[in-house]
């Protein structure tokens, strides 16, 4: 029974909470039938709740038992019934209702209950102890586990460290091994070289010895044959037809020799002078070209400023300190720094200019052609850069070595001529392109004007149509319709802004805009080539004046944008004025 009890309570309550036996779902057990039962039930519930939610210990229980208000005079029967039911549930024998007689039964029951309670308590204590022990063990284990984990981590870190160290050392070792191998190889090579030398030495010695022996033999022979006297001489049969006599020089040999040496040096010196002059000339020309380009740029920059447009680019004053022609003939040592600095500044300025232009152009959604043109320009500038570098480098070589390398100067000359040709070609191509672009722009503008005209005429037609419509329907009904028409008329203004623009007085500012546009188109007609870039002898480096057209186009674009914005404003105005 006790075991049953334990099992049941375990099954019913989740925790090992040894509340009073009252703590159970007694709703299953006790079904109240009357209102007083209900009250009782409520009362019991209250007690149960208190019991369940409070931490139970034996004192509380005893207090409860002692001061129990469970049973009173009134609800004896009910409480008895309840108790019987619970006893039944627990498996104990039922109490009978007879108050007086079965106190034995009651006492026995109470004893049994008390015993079971005692056992329960004991068990509980045991379990609590066990739990405590287990808890402490668990704590200890957890602690040890954490310690072991830490240890593992540390060991792992250690291992990783050692591994990296090992790889490093391995690498080191490999490197050293390589070096060692290389040195061994080199050493072997050196040894073999020296061995070759050694054998050659020995060979030569042997040769000399053999020769010496032969000579000794010969001498011995001759000594033995002392009697034979053989003379050496020339034996000629008949002299030459034309005998060339040897011209005696009488000791002028030395002079002649020195003369020939000196004349040799003279010729070398003149060759070098010629080459030097050529190089200087080419450097001067390059600088002239560059300077002209700079000047042109300045001119165009000023032009653009003068026309009063607000174009966003920094107008840097790029000026080239003009190095006088004579300076180029000075010994390179003295002038070198100034020439180099000049050229480098010019190149830097060009580069900045290029980046500016790139920035300003890339902002706009302009035609691809302009961009292509720009790229071509850049290429040309880079080419110039490169050439300048070449000439600088060659001049440096000049500076560092006393003599020039004839062959390489030749090669460079050839290269330069080739590049000159190429640049000529490019220049002509670019001019061609520029012309094409101009034509296209003109065409484009014409088309635009045409379109506008067409639209104007179209608009005029439409207005005429509308007017006729009005006249046709000039009835009171139509007057009502006027409003609608007006509203209808409103929509055209929204959908066909151009018509609005050109309709009479609502847009007073449009004609001038249009004419301005036409004017600009005419501006474009002017060939920008006429900028006095007269080709001279060495003008192959000339950068054609595309920068000018570039600016013009940029300004045009800006104006177009301004026009568009102005148009939009006008549109707004007209639409507002168009409301009836």
């Amino acid at each position: 029974k006790n075991s049953n009890f334990a099992r049941e309570t375990n099954g019913k309550s989740a925790s090992i909470k040894f509340a009073s036996p009252l703590a159970m779902d007694w709703e299953q057990v006790y079904n109240p039938s009357s209102q007083s039962d209900v009250d009782f039930k409520n009362y019991l519930e209250k007690c149960m709740f208190e019991d369940e939610n409070s931490i139970v210990n034996e004192d509380d229980e005893r207090n409860e038992l002692n001061s129990s208000t469970f049973c009173t005079e009134e609800n004896i029967e009910n409480s008895l019934k309840f108790i019987n039911q619970t006893l039944d549930a627990f498996g104990y024998s039922c109490l009978s209702l007879n108050h007086n007689e079965d106190s034995v039964q009651t006492l026995n029951l109470i004893y049994v209950l008390l015993q079971s309670q005692k056992k329960g308590n004991l068990l509980r204590e045991e379990l609590v102890d066990k739990q405590r022990r287990i808890q402490s063990e668990k704590d200890a284990l957890a602690l040890s586990k954490s310690r072991l984990e830490e240890r593992i981590n540390q060991l792992e870190r250690d291992v990783a460290q050692r591994k990296t160290k090992e790889t490093m050392l391995q690498e080191n070792f490999n490197r050293k091994q390589e070096r060692w191998d290389n040195e061994k190889e080199e050493f072997q090579k050196k040894i073999s070289n020296l061995q070759h030398k050694d054998t050659q030495y020995q060979h030569e010695l042997r040769k000399k010895e053999l020769l010496y022996n032969k000579l000794k033999e010969r001498q011995a022979q001759l000594v033995a044959e002392k009697t034979k006297e053989t003379k050496s001489g020339v034996d000629m049969m008949n002299t030459f037809r034309s005998s060339k006599k040897a011209i005696p020089n009488n000791g002028k040999n030395q002079e002649e020799m020195y003369k020939s040496v000196i004349s040799g040096y003279d010729s070398k010196l003149s060759e070098l002078r010629i080459e030097n002059a050529e190089l200087r000339n080419s450097l001067k020309d390059l600088q002239d070209e560059l300077q002209q380009l700079m000047n042109l740029h300045k001119e165009t920059a000023q032009q653009v400023e003068n026309s009063g447009d607000s174009i966003q680019f920094q107008n840097r004053s790029i000026s080239l300190n003009r190095i006088s022609d004579h300076q180029f003939n000075m010994p390179f040592d003295l002038v070198r720094d100034s020439i180099e600095d000049n050229l480098k500044d010019a190149m830097a300025a060009l580069r900045e200019r290029m980046t500016d232009l790139m920035a300003s152009i890339s902002e706009e959604d302009n035609s691809v052609e302009v961009r292509n043109r720009f790229r071509e320009l850049q290429k040309i500038v880079e080419e110039q850069d490169h050439l300048l570098q070449l000439s600088l480098v060659s001049l440096q070589q000049n500076h560092h070595s006393d003599h020039l390398d004839n062959s390489f100067a030749e090669m460079e000359r050839e290269q330069l001529t080739r590049q000159k040709k190429w640049i000529e070609e490019q220049r002509s191509l670019l001019e061609h392109d520029r012309n094409q672009l101009n034509q296209e722009m003109i065409r484009f503008n014409n088309e635009k004007i045409q379109l506008q005209k067409e639209k104007v005429t179209e608009g005029q037609e439409r207005t005429r149509e509308e007017e006729s419509f009005w006249e046709a329907y000039s009835t009171p009904k139509a007057n009502k319709g006027k409003k609608t028409l007006a509203s209808i008329q409103h929509t055209p203004t929204n959908t066909l802004p151009h018509i609005e623009m050109n309709m009479g007085s609502s847009t007073p500012s449009s004609p001038p805009v249009g004419s301005k546009r036409a004017q600009r188109g005419f501006e474009l007609n002017l060939s920008p080539i006429a900028h006095g870039f007269t080709p001279t002898g060495r003008k192959q480096w000339a950068i054609p004046v595309d920068t000018n057209t570039l600016f013009q186009q940029i300004s045009l674009k800006h104006h177009l944008d301004a026009d568009n914005s102005m148009e939009k404003e006008n549109q707004g105005n007209s639409s507002s004025s168009g409301e009836y």
Binding site: T230, G233, M237, N238, F240, R241, N253, G264
Partner: protein, 444 residues
């Protein structure tokens, strides 16, 4: 291309073109045979006193000198009818007898009127005048074959001497034969000298034991001294670039050719012969067997991305090892340099002096025995000691098989170009023939 018929000779080095290209002189035992180079008809036939060991044409092509070294005799014969008549109308000839001293080598002077001989054991060098039968001696020349050289204009003669265990150079005026200058040179044991094409400098290089190249001007000043490395075998060959002498190519035992700029004496380029070649615009011709019946081998263009050439290491214990750059020869225009690295004996390298990688490579089946540039054009002919004649030009190259003569197999041991570059003498061990190139021009 046309081949002449095959003729015999008795000494391979004694088959020579005349400098004007009109005749060929051949030594046949004790006879001298002169043939017309076009028709190969016999123009002159002379008998000498002994077996002819060597012969030399005079620079003006009028005379042929025959050397009989066993008898220490030189006999000079006129080459044509025009040069043979003398003042008294009879045939002219001349005999030079050195006597006990013996003759090891002989050479003509540029004026064709003097002969320089070197005696046995380099006791002395003698200059014999054919005009007035006089002679004078130069003592202690270093070598019979090397170290004696006229400058390009023919006005000076430079001779390497050895006195008191030191090297000296003597400069003689070639017209008056007076000693102009004699000075000590800085080499350990000079091997040879070479005049620069503009006659301004003489470069002398040291024995192979030490890498040293000294440049002297004719007044005895040391202009420059060049040593690429030490403690190894040194210079093997050196040559100036022909027309202006702007480069001096030095081939050495370390398998490299170094080009020096003759103005600044700086190393312009170092051409190495690597084992594996990265292909940058190098045209590689490989001799392969072909299927055609009359041409067993042909050149195939090797287009492989990387080429590897075998490099044979010479044994350490043999003197004069087969290693290093054996030849560094310039083309007549000076734009191309031909080299052969003896470690890669089957390969010929053609270089443009300004580029680090070769222009063209010829890989033969057998080691190349002899290569000679055409004296006029930029092309060369090579032979490997077999029946094939190899021609290379910058636009292509070809293998030509020489058919056998009537007396058996004909192999090419050495080549000689004619000075106009239109014919080649192909010399075998005992026979020779002439190969005419550009036949159309020839006949017209």
């Amino acid at each position: 291309m046309e081949l002449s018929s095959v003729y015999p000779h008795s000494s391979s080095k004694s088959v020579k073109w005349s400098p004007d290209g009109k005749s060929v002189a051949v030594a046949l035992n004790y006879r001298l045979l002169i043939r017309n180079s076009l028709s190969l008809g016999v123009v002159g036939l002379y008998s000498c006193n002994a077996e002819v060991s060597d012969l030399e044409w005079s620079p003006d092509s009028s005379y042929v000198a025959c050397l009989m070294s066993k008898r220490s005799l030189i006999q000079i014969w006129p080459a044509s009818k025009a040069s043979s008549t003398s003042t008294n109308g009879q045939e002219w000839s001349c005999k030079i007898d050195e006597g006990i001293a013996g003759i090891t080598s002989m050479r003509w002077s540029p004026d064709s009127r003097h002969i320089i001989t070197v005696a046995d054991f380099q006791i002395r060098a003698t200059v014999w005048s054919l005009i007035n039968r006089s002679s004078f001696h130069i003592p202690n020349p270093k070598s019979a074959t090397q170290g004696i050289s006229f400058n390009n204009s023919g006005s000076y003669l430079a001779v390497l001497l050895r006195k008191e265990s030191k090297d000296f150079m003597a400069i003689y005026n070639a017209e008056s034969w007076e000693l102009v200058n004699e000075f000590k040179i800085d080499t350990f044991d000079a091997v040879d000298l070479s005049w620069s094409p503009d006659d301004q400098t003489i470069c002398v290089w040291d024995h192979s034991i030490q890498y040293k190249m000294c440049m002297y001007s004719i007044d005895g000043r040391l202009v420059h001294q060049y040593q690429a490395y030490e403690h190894a075998l040194g210079i093997r060959c050196a040559s100036w670039s022909p027309p202006s002498g702007q480069f001096l190519a030095i081939g050495s035992y370390d398998q490299k050719v170094r080009l020096l700029n003759s103005l600044t004496w700086k190393t312009v380029n170092e051409l190495s012969h690597p084992v594996s070649l990265a292909r940058n615009d190098t045209v590689v011709y490989k001799e392969v067997s072909s299927e055609s019946a009359y041409q067993p081998f042909t050149y195939a263009l090797d287009e492989s991305a990387a080429l590897s050439i075998s490099n044979v290491k010479a044994p350490v214990d043999q003197p004069n090892p087969k290693m290093g750059v054996q030849w560094a020869k310039w083309s007549p225009s000076g734009k191309l340099l031909l080299t052969k690295n003896e470690n890669m004996g089957n390969t010929l390298w053609v270089w443009d002096p300004s580029k680090p990688s070769p222009l063209s490579l010829l890989i033969q089946r057998n080691p190349v025995k002899s290569v000679v540039w055409d004296p006029v054009n930029d092309r060369f002919a090579a032979c490997s000691g077999d029946k094939m004649l190899y021609l290379w030009t910058s636009s292509g190259s070809s293998c030509i098989q020489i058919p056998n003569g009537p007396e058996g197999e004909f192999t090419i041991q050495s080549l000689r170009w004619r000075n106009d570059g239109k014919a080649i003498l192909l010399v075998d061990k005992t026979q020779y023939c002439i190969c005419y190139l550009d036949v159309g021009e020839e006949s017209s």
